[in-house]
Homo-oligomer: 224 residues x 4
DNA sequence: CATGAATGAGAATTCATTCAT
DNA sequence: CATGAATGAATTCTCATTCAT
């Protein structure tokens, strides 16, 4: 790398350019690293999703990502770590999209609708990640259960916060938001899981109206 | 094993007696067989629930059931079969209890309540089986997903039938029972899953009132 | 197995034979087990001795012992255990032979001679085990060092006891038996190590007279 | 490497100077090279001594020496070479010190004492190198055994020469110096090995008087 | 010259399944 | 029928070595 820098320096008249170039060189390397990192994650998504966590071999991921086994272990300490990164990625994606959708909607009632629709949309747009998230993750082993429950809990909490605010707000009548939030999450979960495993409904978003109606009513709201 | 018994017989009284009483012997043997079969299933429940499907070794089950590996392979063609029997056992238990509860209740509305309460009760009484059913089963591998979806579907259909009848009945207003049944099942699922993995609520049945209220309302019923 | 027993019983007139045969059957199995166990140990001796502990693959031992890898892991929990068994075997062999030789010799001075000669003889008769014991064991890894030092210490202690008794006895004049015993052990060690690695002297026993003289003198005894 | 230095030069004063002073630059570079070379050796000493040859990773050495893996492979063709350099370094150190000590002592008897004391002192002052030399080296693999035996032999020869001269000299009575030299080396070896592995005696030099006495006597000398 | 990403050939260990006894 | 020895394919992870930058 220093050689590269020197080469540039000698061939230019400005040393500072040398540093600029050096930055670029570094960037190029980092970019390459990034690309490979992503390629591994993509491959892992595919493989985990196809074979399940336990049945997926690191070799499979290496093959799929066009890397070597050693290459994968350069980026990840072990198989589990890959899975966890994927899980967190999906959870983060869902959370941020849902929160964004809610923030952009001033109306309290419509906030919930927006979040629900956004989540269905996000799931629909990442079918393999969704499979990982809803199907493979729970049974992937003792070590993952805690993490999964945290993630589930974080979504339930998101819903609970919304419901609590809506109650405080007077938008909806008081209800057991603890159970309600868990149940809501479960309801959406199951609809999405069925879609991911059986392909019903063909377009996940088709479930939106009925689901919205259901959740609204369960919170004591009459359809308008 | 018959031979074993015979052997004993031979050494106690008379070999011919052994043959004469072979019928009785067979029964005895069948009973013994049954016992061993159950012992294996119980052991499998424990082990699968503790380690998960993939991490559970047939040796573990053999140890726990006080049999030998070979013994297990006499009763089951392979490891997967044990798991499937367990799954079906739990599904059957749940279904029959829920159906019984509904049949015993003439009032349409209360049928649903009874089914819900019975299911929570059944889950609560079989925590390890529940864990298998809701946590381990999904991620246990490709081969199990279809079966699991069938089971999920069968419960959703049970709910759907009930809702359809209630609609036809005029008990509740028309609604998308396809989505509703799946969502209901998911809602209950998630509440039970949380309980199984985190121990909340301490008594699963505590969730009943809130859950009942929620589901009722979602079907357009006002709490009485 | 029971079948075998029965078969025998039915075809004989004496039930007690049944038991005799059953014993024999068991013995036959146990004998087979013993044979395989030994075959693995022998193979391990060869392989470890040829390649060293670290470079020896369990696969090599499996090949050499005409077993499968799994077969080896049925008898030993891991590679290390095989090595330790071998080490203990050699240590036990040496110790017991040396002690026997000393016990059979009433004369104090000759006890030492007998022990020395016996050890040289034993080493000479088990060249590969000796290699393991003196060459491979020390550098085989942190976990083995403690054990090796224990073994070394046990031999030094054997020598020290002898020296102490000889001193108490008046056979030899007082000396620092702590250092002397370690040094003696080291002296013999090195002579044997050279033999094992370079083949000098051709017959290890050839070193006996000089070594005996050396050790005797070091204890303050004049050659007779 | 010159280029690297040039780079620095360019950025500090004047590029042309860089070329003019290229001699000096080369020296500077060589010095830097030397430093890095030593740093790698020191790191290797530490790491090999801590983990053993096989368990030490080149990465560990790179980390410890604050270099990169590639850097190490610039100075050494492979891992084995590092170890051999270390071995030769220790052997050379011991030899030269022992020989110096002997040369500085005119009295034949005291030559031996001086050599012994110097060796103990040298070992005591380089505990990690000693560990490498006496513990790790033997079991490090087939390839090292020959070299180790050469080293052992070279020390034995040193001792043998001394003994032969002492015999020729009339200082000591004739004895089998071939075996005696090996035994002496082994005796010292074992005392040092025990110290390195168990920490006994706390100060290695404490063993000197007893050891000296022992060796002297074994050569037929009465303590004065 | 230095760096560290990349490779790929193993290594130890596990385990479902079979089968002789 | 029961047992447990035996198999061997599969799996995760390691690491010396190479080489583009």
């Amino acid at each position: 790398m220093i050689l590269t820098v020197l080469f540039v320096t000698i061939n230019t008249t400005d040393a500072s350019v040398g540093f600029v170039e050096s930055r670029e060189v570094l960037d190029k390397q980092q970019a390459k690293s990034q690309v490979r990192f992503s390629r591994i994650l993509d491959a892992a998504t595919t493989v985990f999703s196809q074979k399940g966590y336990k049945d997926a071999a690191v070799d499979d991921i290496a093959l799929e990502s066009q890397t070597s086994k050693g290459g994968i272990y350069f980026y990840f300490p072990n198989k589990q770590a890959i899975f966890l990164v994927l899980l967190d990625k999906m959870a983060g994606l869902l959370r941020s999209r849902a929160e964004d959708a809610m923030n952009q909607e001033p109306d309290m009632l419509k906030k919930g609708d927006a979040a629900l629709y956004t989540m269905l949309q996000t799931f629909a747009g990442h079918r393999t990640l969704t499979r990982l998230f809803l199907v493979e993750a729970l049974g992937a082993g003792r070590e993952f259960n805690d993490r999964m429950m945290e993630i589930h809990a974080s979504f339930s909490r998101l819903i609970k916060d919304y419901l609590d605010r809506a109650v405080a707000n007077g938008t909806i009548a008081p209800l057991n938001t603890d159970i309600a939030s868990v149940a809501w999450f479960g309801a959406v979960n199951e609809v999405v899981t069925r879609w991911v495993l059986t392909g019903q409904p063909a377009q996940l978003e088709e479930a939106y109206p009925a689901l919205r109606e259901l959740l609204r009513r369960s919170a004591g709201l009459v359809a308008q």
